[in-house]
């Protein structure tokens, strides 16, 4: 029998605010445990949550990008359960009245076609803390993450493969990063995903029973867990068994899913309206304001770049992965660099440097302005490409100003008199090579040009050197 996999996603995205959602503690990943806590996020008696506006603004931007219907009134509810990383004994979430309904995630099918994953809703909620296990049999609780603002994006179930599920999450991450709502670092845990998987015979119309895979924190684990869980469910059914609706944990190393709850009852969260927070009121004006503050969206940028800059499609796609990358590239063009060389430099040199330095373009020490001077010098043949790259490297290594470095660099020698002297010297010192060329073996010309460049300490204009050389041989 042939089987289809049905996947539903619940994506948790931590919003990139300065402070936490319900208190004024710093929202910060990787800080010393419990260094960003206060009575509110520790759940002290008497402390009350106070929602911050910027989190709601972030949430509105996310809902606009995903095409949701933003609700004028929404409300927080309490989700009650006991867990050591949840100090109040309840999580403040939106259950009965989420702020956004509907919408969809654009993604690419395995066959390359464009598709959308419909959304049920997005709601706002607070994050929980973290527990880590000690060798002495205890767990240590770090509440730094507690009460950080989260979006939970809940999709409808859809026929999808593992790679397609990962593609959806990639798409959400790119969009949320694009509009500055979420940093999208899965390894830091500010983007996490639960995946609901079920299987159904190809000709069936009703969905099978689903299993929920919790807290997947990489694209690989999303992709692989869907594949592995699909296989497990098919095996269960074909072996005459039934899939149980349950929560399962993904073991990345063993590549298996395992049932999480044993004797524990199914959870009963006892949702009821949070009495400590008034109803959230989002007006049409608020939505307009956020809409107006959104940057140019990736698809619009793609269309514009294809038209204005004549970029080949394959070059554009990687440039759209992060908005700030494209902004930098566009600054180069605004500074007078030709679009083609801006693209070459960015995809070649800059992305390489960012990778090596494990850095984001926002903190890249070389400004687009000074880099543009170098690229223009190359374009105008005043320096060689190699020299340009060396200057960039030098500036990064020594932390020196690129513009100053450029100004103190000798421009390429294009004067035929000076070049002629170097050429003559090299030709006379390399008779073998000259003879080879004369004998029809053109490969040696590169070697000879290289010798001239060496002799001139890189200042000779290589193209002109070659021309002179050919004339003389």
């Amino acid at each position: 029998m042939s089987w289809n996999t049905v996947v539903g996603l619940e994506i948790h995205a931590q919003m990139a605010t300065q402070s936490k959602m319900f208190c004024a503690c710093r929202r910060q990943a990787g800080a010393v445990p419990n260094s960003n806590i206060c009575p509110v996020c520790v759940g002290w008696p008497g402390a009350l949550p106070v929602l911050q506006g910027e989190a709601v603004r972030c949430a509105i931007r996310a809902a606009i990008c995903l095409g949701c219907d933003i609700q004028e009134l929404s409300r927080f509810d309490r989700k009650n359960y006991f867990y050591p990383d949840l100090p109040k004994g309840y999580q403040i979430s939106q259950f009965y009245h989420p702020y956004a309904l509907g919408g969809s995630i654009p993604f690419t099918r395995d066959d390359g076609s464009a598709a959308v994953l419909p959304l049920v809703r997005i709601h706002m909620e607070e994050d929980a803390g973290k527990s880590s296990h000690e060798e002495d049999g205890t767990s240590r609780i770090d509440l730094n993450r507690c009460s950080s603002p989260l979006l939970e994006i809940v999709s409808e179930p859809l026929l999808m493969s593992g790679t397609e599920a990962a593609s959806c999450v990639r798409s959400v991450r790119a969009l949320l990063r694009w509009v500055g709502v979420c940093d999208g670092d899965m390894e830091k845990g500010n983007l996490r995903c639960d995946v609901n998987v079920s299987v159904m015979p190809e000709e069936a119309v009703e969905f099978g029973t689903r299993a929920e895979l919790k807290n997947l924190n990489s694209f690989v684990s999303i992709e692989r867990s869907v594949v592995v869980e699909t296989a497990r469910q098919i095996e269960v059914i074909e072996g005459g068994g039934q899939v149980v609706q349950e929560t399962r944990l993904w073991d990345q190393d063993k590549e298996v899913t395992a049932s999480m709850r044993g004797k524990e009852d199914s959870p009963d969260y006892r949702y009821f309206p949070e009495p400590d927070l008034p109803v959230v009121w989002i007006t049409e004006d608020d939505i307009q304001q956020q809409s107006g503050s959104l940057p140019e969206m990736p698809e619009d940028r793609r269309q514009r770049w294809l038209k204005e800059y004549d970029f080949p499609e394959r070059e554009v796609v990687p440039l759209l992965s992060r908005r700030e990358n494209g902004d930098y590239l566009e600054s180069l063009i605004l500074e007078g660099v030709k679009p083609a060389s801006a693209s070459n430099w960015f995809r070649g040199e800059i992305l390489k440097q960012l990778n090596e330095r494990e850095e984001r373009i926002e903190v890249f020490p070389v400004t687009a302005q000074s880099l543009a001077l170098v690229i223009k010098a190359v374009e105008e043949d005043r320096i060689s490409v190699a020299t340009g790259k060396e200057l960039l490297q030098k500036s990064l290594d020594k932390g020196s100003d690129l513009k100053t470095l450029l100004e103190s660099t000798d421009e390429q020698v294009q004067d035929e008199g000076a070049l002629g002297e170097w050429v003559d010297q090299v030709l006379s010192e390399n008779e073998d090579a000259v003879n080879k060329i004369r004998g029809g073996d053109d490969r040696a010309i590169g070697f000879l040009v290289g010798q001239v460049m060496k002799l001139s300490k890189g200042q000779a204009h290589p193209k002109k050197v070659q021309e002179l050389m050919r004339a003389r041989i």
């Binding site: 008696p45 008497g46 009350l48 106070v50 009650n80 100090p87 009963d268 009821f272 400590d276």
Partner: protein, 489 residues
């Protein structure tokens, strides 16, 4: 300075505003006043079990500082030099805040609740913490981890609850303002039992930040004092929106006109209300009528369901609010190597029987399969109660009924029958469910010499109008002026 301090101190039953004038005229120093009040707390206050902690040292220091400010001619607060206490469920920087529960024994909040900060800024001096029922759940003050509190008018009887300590202090002696909290009558019912004046403000008018939550949508902090004017001055200080409580708001009165037309709530005088209580409140009505106040009969049929509705909503919210006492972040822990065992053994040993009963009911009414039938239905009834009250208040300025259906009862009389205790709340919970303000005032003493109280409910925001009406009553009738014999130190 004043040499013979005692002779120039105010009368034991003096109000805070009388004491303010007394201090202003230089008849005694703040230090002499506070010193004498501390003496009252240490003797009568402790004998009644009404006060748990007394902050003698800091209070005397603040009194000296206040005297110095007065001498230097500095600007003084509106409650300059007035002693005040906070209920054991209101956080204070000094001392402990344990909500009278073993669960929170020794809990140091390290920070003042917003209301305490506001009282201090107005020049009032924190002198101690008053006892209450555990987590403010009770109507007799018999469930406090600090022992029973006694009624100053008959020490074999309960002072009411849950703000029983505050009410006993206010009933026994004057001068001070006592901060209490009212979830289903916890300010008004003990005020009535102890012959004090107490008010539950409009929900949201006074910040709850720093109040240990019981039923958040019902909880409200308010003052207990000698008379309505004291409450009015205190409310002026306490009210206002607080950036640390998102539900706190600034309110204004629905009208500047004094209250002249009162709705007489038929259900407040029906079955289950003792005849002696009915008679006393009816007599009060005649006095007010003679002064030209108009009365009309109103019927609030859904009030019959108010107590049931309250039991569901208050316990549901409490079950959630008290989940934070899990033996991990704050509160008592019984050690165990197993997390689940740690949770349940810590919580079971930390909470008293009544609190556990309420958590159990609250958990049940929210649980899967029952939430719609119980919690959902209660929300629906709450909405009806609210609408009924507001529509009644369209035609009248205030509504009137007794506070408690019966007089203060003997200590131990109802403790084994939780439902008999819940009956104390039947006339008070309505104001909490509707979120409207309510003021309780001494009405009379019954033939056994026990205090009888009555209350007025008003529109949202009409707190001061109600207090004005209460002041009028206190001009017409001087029941509130009495001080119990044993109350004087």
């Amino acid at each position: 300075m004043v040499n013979d301090a005692a002779s120039s101190l105010p009368d034991p039953g003096a109000t805070s505003h009388e004491v303010l004038a007394h201090l202003q005229s230089g008849k005694c120093t703040t230090k002499a006043l506070i010193s004498e009040y501390l003496n009252f707390l240490e003797t009568t206050g402790k004998r009644l079990g009404a006060v748990v902690e007394v902050f003698s040292q800091s209070a005397l220091q603040e009194a000296e500082a206040s005297d110095a400010r007065r001498m230097a001619g500095e600007t003084l607060g509106v409650l300059e030099g007035i002693p005040f206490t906070a209920k054991m469920n209101i956080c204070t920087e000094e001392g402990t805040t344990d909500a009278s529960s073993a669960m929170l024994a020794g809990f140091e909040a390290g920070v003042d609740a917003t209301v305490v900060q506001k009282m201090r800024s107005a020049g009032a001096i924190l002198v101690g913490k008053s006892s209450c029922d555990e987590f403010a759940m009770g109507a007799s003050n018999e469930s406090s981890a600090h022992g029973v509190v006694r009624n100053p008018w008959d020490e074999s009887r309960v002072p009411g609850g849950s703000s029983g300590g505050a009410a006993a202090l206010a009933g026994a002696f004057g001068w001070a303002i006592h901060l209490g909290s009212d979830t289903g009558g916890s300010i008004r019912q003990p005020a009535a039992f102890c012959s004090a004046t107490g008010m539950k403000p409009t929900w949201g008018r006074v910040s709850r930040r720093g109040l240990i939550a019981f039923g958040s949508s019902l909880d409200q902090i308010g003052p207990l004092a000698r008379d309505a004017k004291d409450c009015q001055i205190a409310l002026e200080v306490l009210q206002g929106s607080d950036p640390l409580d998102a539900t706190s708001l600034s309110f204004s009165e629905s009208s500047k006109e004094p209250i002249r037309k009162i709705g007489w709530i038929r259900q407040g005088f029906g079955e289950g209300i003792d005849a002696s209580i009915r008679e006393q409140v009816e007599a009060a009505r005649s006095i007010l009528e003679k002064d030209g106040i108009e009365f009309v009969e109103v019927s609030l049929p859904t009030m019959a369901q108010a107590n049931a509705c309250y039991q569901v909503i208050a316990t549901a919210e409490a079950s959630s609010n008290l989940a934070r006492y899990d033996g991990i972040h704050v509160g008592k822990r019984l050690s165990s190597n197993d997390l689940e065992e740690l949770y349940s053994s810590s919580r079971s040993s930390g909470f008293g029987a009544e609190v556990r009963r309420r958590i159990l009911l609250g958990t049940f009414v929210l649980s899967s399969g029952y939430i719609d039938a119980y919690y959902g239905r209660a929300q629906s009834v709450r909405q009806e109660i609210r609408e009924e009250i507001l529509s009644a208040l369209d035609d009248v300025d205030a509504l009137m009924m007794p506070v408690s259906p019966f007089a203060p009862f003997k200590i131990g009389e109802r403790i084994d029958d939780p439902l008999a205790l819940y009956a104390c709340d039947i006339l008070t919970v309505t104001a909490n469910l509707a979120g409207v303000p309510a003021v309780a005032v001494p009405c009379a003493f019954d033939n056994e010499g026990l205090p009888v109280g009555m209350q007025w409910l008003g529109k949202h925001g009409d707190d001061h109008r109600l207090l004005q009406l209460a002041s009028l009553w206190q001009e017409l009738n001087d029941t509130w002026k009495s001080v119990p014999q044993g109350g004087q130190s």
